[in-house]
Amino acid sequence: MIGEDRTTSSDDGEEGGLLNATFGALGRVLMGFFAEFGRIVLLLRSVIRYIPTAIRSRRLVLEQMYMIGVGSLPLVLLIGSFTGAIAALQATNLFAKFNLLALARPFVGGSIATVVFTELSPVLTALVIAGRVGGSIAAQIGTMKVSEQIDALEMMAVHPSRYLAMPRVMAALVMMPMLIVFSDLVALLGAFLLVILKFTFQPADYWDSIRRFFSVYEIVVGMLKSATFGGVTALIGCYVGFNTEGGAEGVGNSTVRSFTLSSAAILVLDALFGYVL
């Protein structure tokens, strides 16, 4: 009996230890998450504080606008055209599967436009930008951090948030909606070519459908989303860059980390937008 009691008590102790360890680990992860989130919010506050200096620092903002906007345009056009074509393919295939294609013809263009404007174009473009621009920002600032260039800026009494973060966040906020406009246009063209060539739609059916179902609200939602995604991507890229440690390996890790965090943030924000708007 005594032996049995001991076994039970030892098992309880092990279970209790495991439970403690599990909650302890979970607690540490949560604390780490909130601490990191808090630091990103502090960086955002600092960036907002320096937005009034954007006119004075317009050269820096314009450089970043060129890098983020013009530099990303070819990739965005490529992704946009395929996004439209794939959306059209999936939609028409679905209607064809249920023998509803003839019936659905007047709605195909409009439904593709809605999905592209509000969801596919902003999210996919943002994910591409998270890889291209977010990674590049994290690598640039991370390299500056590990080579003491950020300290050098501090010693010149130039605040790194003003000189590095604000222009990047501002440029991303401005350029992302512009990129989305291009992405939307090529997506509609991609979808148009697909439904014309593969499903022998009449061009007029497709454009009429878009005209009938087109709403400025959808475009505005898409642009609002993309501006938010762009700003968050740039902010996270800056944050990760400023916290880079450990030489070339650290810079490489920061690039990956920036992409991972930005992608997660984009998807979470997209879900929030879907719920709110």
Partner: protein
């Protein structure tokens, strides 16, 4: 005057400084020596507020650095020039832009003023000839070639000199040098030592130099401070350092002399 009082600093479990107190006399060159990882660079960064001490205080002209607001801290930093170990030049900028970035960002947009500042400081560090000793066309040609170069196009010694020139912009009262001769050949190291000594004298600034190079110590130091295990192990003149009987100081000097004697 800079007063450091009982400063402690740790990074995670590693205690780097364990109660360092010192005065940095004005108008002189203080050289801080010690093995790698003894907190020399950390001490410099603590003074200018790039790092925060865990305990203790640092006072500059009677004002505690840890109590300064962010804007006061930036204002204070404008009185300092800082030469980083790897020069920390901005890769994407030309030499001229590297030098005047601080002035430009603080609102100085007059290109003539900016050019004059670049010229003055590149002449000060010996990267450009004195304009009074050469013709204007020769000088302008030398200026255009150097000022438009990117850091990647410069040799190690030139990068260090540009780093020193950048630290001199704005006529600071204090210049901090973090291992200015590390990675340089002996001849270039000696030239940099001469430059540090000359600048302290010529510009009447207070200099703090971190180095492993004993030759640099003898060449530039008025006061030598040796850090060991996060504490001050020695403080005195270069002459007193040479004749010290402290076993740690002795070992440091011996090892340095030995390692240099082995060089063919």
């Amino acid at each position: 005057m800079i007063v450091i009082d009982n400063v402690h600093k740790a990074f995670g479990p590693k205690q780097v400084l364990r109660g360092v107190s010192m005065l940095i006399p004005e108008g002189e060159t203080t050289v801080i020596i010690g093995r790698s990882g003894t907190g020399k660079s950390v001490l410099l960064k603590l003074i200018v507020g790039l790092l925060e001490p865990d305990e203790g205080t640092i006072t500059i002209d009677g004002r505690r650095v840890d109590l300064m607001s962010e804007s006061e801290r930036y204002q204070m930093r404008r009185r300092f020039g800082y030469v980083f170990q790897g020069a920390a030049l901005f890769d994407s900028m030309t030499v001229a832009d590297n030098l005047v970035l601080g002035l430009y960002e603080h609102g100085e947009r007059n290109t003539e003023v900016l050019r004059e500042e670049v010229v003055r400081n590149l002449v000060n560090v010996g990267l450009l000839p004195d304009p009074r000793t050469v013709s204007a066309s020769v000088f302008n040609q030398a200026y255009e070639i150097l000022a438009n170069k990117k850091p990647a196009e410069l040799s190690g010694g030139m990068r260090k000199r540009v780093g020193v020139a950048r630290a001199l912009v704005g006529s600071p009262e204090y210049i901090f040098y973090d291992e200015p001769t590390t990675g340089l050949d002996p001849i270039t190291s000696e030239q940099i030592d001469d430059l540090v000594a000359a600048l302290t004298h010529k510009l009447d600034v207070t200099s703090v130099v971190i180095t492993h190079d004993i030759f640099s110590v003898y060449k530039v130091a008025h006061t030598v401070i040796m850090l060991d295990e996060g504490l001050i192990r020695f403080r005195g003149t270069p002459l007193e350092l040479r004749s010290s009987h402290d076993p740690v100081v002795h070992e440091f000097l011996e090892r340095y002399a030995h390692s240099h004697a082995e060089v063919p």
